[in-house]
């Protein structure tokens, strides 16, 4: 099953490699990983998407908690949460396709943030599945580049991950 593990980690050099190293050393897979400092500059927030049986996910969370740099973590998949990913897609356009692309982008609430005579860059946020759907809706041969941030998430309601 897919899990989104959200981690508060010391904002120190090497902290990221401890997490990445743990996953490779123990044979866990990482689907995506995003990391950036929080409002407290001494802490970073990391969102890690992984897949595995319940036993494996239990081991992953235990092993992550064992890292001295990991302050706290939650598995977002365990409760109600919101998940967002940012994507930018560069698409080759022709006079005939520009209107269609604008139309599809609008349906997906994407924004066109760069225009040249032969290309568009479409920006879009949403759950990963929505971004997948947009890519599927565009003619694959016209896609020059896809940049995705990887999902990040937050739990709904009062519950949260903080010190």
């Amino acid at each position: 099953m897919r899990h989104i593990i959200s981690i508060l980690i010391e904002n120190e050099s090497g902290a990221l490699s401890r997490v990445a190293g743990l996953f490779s050393a123990r044979g866990y897979n990482i689907e995506s990983l995003t990391v950036a400092p929080t409002e407290d500059p001494s802490l970073s927030r990391m969102t890690l998407v992984t897949r595995g049986s319940d036993d494996i996910i239990e081991q992953i969370t235990k092993q992550l908690n064992k890292l001295i740099d990991v302050v706290k973590l939650i598995d977002l998949a365990e409760s109600d949460h919101i998940e967002r990913e940012l994507m930018m897609v560069k698409i080759r356009t022709t006079e005939h396709t520009r209107e269609e692309i604008r139309g599809i982008a609008a349906i997906f609430r994407g924004k066109i943030i760069d225009v040249t005579p032969t290309t568009y860059v479409v920006e879009m946020t949403g759950p990963s599945s929505k971004l997948d759907a947009f890519i599927a809706a565009i003619d694959g041969d016209t896609i020059i580049e896809v940049v995705r941030s990887g999902p990040t998430g937050i739990s709904r309601g009062e519950k949260g991950l903080h010190l």
Partner: protein
């Protein structure tokens, strides 16, 4: 007080109560060595190879319970230490390793003797630090000791760039009495509700067994374990790392379990209905085939490391906490409980165990014309009255030492269980001897292992650490040979050494006493003579039966009740080898 970085390191070690540093100098740590030269409080032991430094510090730590301290230079000094760091990591041994690093401004430029020590050691340390600011040096060292010695212990590396120890830069020094790390809060006592559940289960068990590991020794919980075991009158088995946690000569002890454990220990595990695992981690050498591991048992597991619980074997009642306080909590609850273990059930369980004991799985040919390695260990036990500190290397000799030297006290059996590091025994013995100069210290080794760190014979002489080396010399990498015999139709691929050195001359060349023993009747007198030479390191090169195998054995991938026992007398010794 204002000190430079080098002085801060040494003063911090002194304030931490460090007695010995095991180390080797080099460019990046010259400032540190200059600071060592100018004081007498912390004694430095110059080894002959950095691997030896880590194993010696490790042996010191295992025997005393205090953290071992290592100092090595950058680059090759640091990489040579990695094997010893990984050895300590696998067995959860508290150590602090200070490694020199190239100066901060040149880090990342492939400078001379530069290596990313923090990166290299990341997977085999509990934590590591790169010091980037001399004002944080003392606090970092304190943190290193704090992390290394609390919770599940382990090695911690502090990588110190050369410019941090610059003698010209002085900063105010104060060694913190306490440090806290917001993300690190190891559990102490166990959860009351879980302990209650565990006690209830234990008191209704029909065929219970206590399975105790190295965590009992690391957590100083032997006294409580003994009390617990005697109160419940349950059988107890120890892991390789747990030997000595419970007295091996006690009648409730059924021997070591696992791959080379006793028949009775493994059968009792397999047939049990309740297992309480205490400071043990269900290592693959213990469990054998996981699918068939203890099929009838409900398992209680006490461990300070939550990640050790249900890692390979699912347990019914996990208890996270230190062994000693959790056992104290349990003892109190058991005493207060109105329920008592069923006398009748225990009686029939012990009857069953006695039948397994009657198989006498540890018997060997005592009439052989050749020296049997088991006999050597038995004689070693008698000559040292069971009171010596025994270190070992890795291989057949390690198993024989574990099987035939019954340890009655914790911290007396010192071996590399998790990583299985050949070369561990001799330097570890030196570390132990320095800690306990008045005790007998013997290194049980083999002709393969001893050559992996033999240079430390020189260290033993320089620092007057007279240890006895019991070399069970069978001219083979015996454990490799045994596996090749069992699973590769006796194709002895590179497990035979036909140019083994003359160990007697070698010992003498290093300034020690060497003896060669090739007859069974010479073993006892030679051991007596060696241990009578209190001030000398003695190398006993004992030529043992080359065909001897370690029994019993659970071959890889088999279950506890599928053991290979010794076949009829003579058949193994009559086989032609080589």
């Amino acid at each position: 007080m204002e000190l430079n970085g080098a002085q801060i390191v040494i003063q911090s070690l002194k304030d931490e109560g460090v007695e010995y540093i095991f180390g080797y100098p080099g460019g990046a740590v010259l400032h540190l060595y200059d600071a060592i030269f100018q004081q007498d409080d912390v004694k430095h032991i110059l080894v002959r190879h950095e691997q030896g430094a880590t194993h010696a510090a490790d042996g010191y730590a295992r025997a005393t319970g205090k953290p071992g301290v290592v100092l090595v230079t950058s680059g090759p000094g640091a990489t040579n230490a990695v094997t010893g760091i990984a050895t300590a990591y696998m067995d959860s041994i508290p150590m602090v390793i200070i490694s020199g690093q190239v100066p901060l401004p040149v880090i990342g430029s492939d400078a001379f003797q530069e290596v990313d020590m923090v990166g290299i050691t990341r997977p085999c340390v509990k934590h590591n630090f790169l010091v980037k600011d001399v004002t944080k040096l003392a606090e970092t060292i304190k943190k290193a000791f704090y992390v290394a010695t609390t919770g599940r212990p382990g090695p911690v590396v502090v990588d110190v760039p050369k410019d941090i120890t610059d003698p010209r830069i002085k900063v105010p020094y104060k060694y913190p009495k306490k440090v806290s790390i917001r993300s690190y809060n190891p559990a102490l006592t166990g959860h009351k509700g879980q302990i209650k559940k565990a006690v209830d289960l234990l008191l209704t068990a029909q065929k219970p067994i206590i399975y105790a590991g190295g965590g009992v020794i690391l957590g100083e919980g032997s006294k409580e374990l003994i009390e617990f075991t005697r109160l419940l009158e349950f059988p107890i088995t120890n892991t390789l790392m747990g030997l000595g946690a419970y007295p091996a000569t006690d009648k409730q002890f059924v021997g070591m379990l696992g791959m080379h454990g006793t028949y009775e220990a493994n059968m009792a595990m397999h047939d049990s209905d309740v297992i309480i695992a205490i400071g043990a981690r269900f290592d693959d050498r213990v469990t054998g085939k996981l699918d068939e591991f203890c099929p009838h048992a409900q398992i209680i597991h006490i461990d300070v490391d939550p990640a050790s619980i249900s890692k390979t074997v699912k347990v019914a009642i996990p208890i996270v906490g230190e062994v000693k306080p959790v056992l104290e909590q349990m003892l109190e609850m058991i005493r207060e409980s109105k329920k008592k273990p069923s006398k009748k059930a225990l009686e029939s369980w012990w009857k069953q165990i006695d039948q397994w004991r009657a198989v006498k799985c540890m018997e060997y040919d005592r009439n052989s014309r050749l020296i049997k390695p088991q006999y050597v260990i038995e004689q070693l036990y008698e000559v040292t009255k069971g009171e010596a500190y025994i270190t070992s290397d890795v291989g057949q000799h390690q198993m024989w030492a574990a099987q035939y030297y019954p340890f009655d006290k914790p911290r007396h059996w010192i071996n590399s269980g998790g990583l299985g590091t050949m070369g561990f025994g001799l330097p570890a013995a030196i570390g132990v001897k320095l800690a306990f100069p008045d005790s007998d210290v013997a290194c049980v080794t083999g002709d393969g292992s001893i050559q992996m760190c033999i240079q430390e014979l020189s260290t033993a002489l320089q620092y007057n650490a007279p240890v006895k080396i019991i070399n069970l010399n069978n001219s083979y990498l015996g454990m490799v040979r045994q596996w090749q015999e069992f699973t590769y139709e006796s194709r002895y691929s590179h497990s035979y050494m036909d140019t083994i050195p003359d160990f007697v001359k070698l010992a003498e060349a290093y300034g020690h006493v060497g003896m060669r023993i090739d007859k069974p009747e010479e073993v006892r007198p030679a051991l007596e003579e060696a241990f009578a030479l209190k001030d000398r390191t003695v190398f006993l090169d004992i030529l043992t039966d080359r065909t001897e195998n370690v029994y019993p054995m659970i071959e890889a991938g088999k279950a506890h009740n599928d053991m290979t026992l010794r076949v009829a007398e003579g058949t193994s010794t009559d086989r032609e080898l080589a």
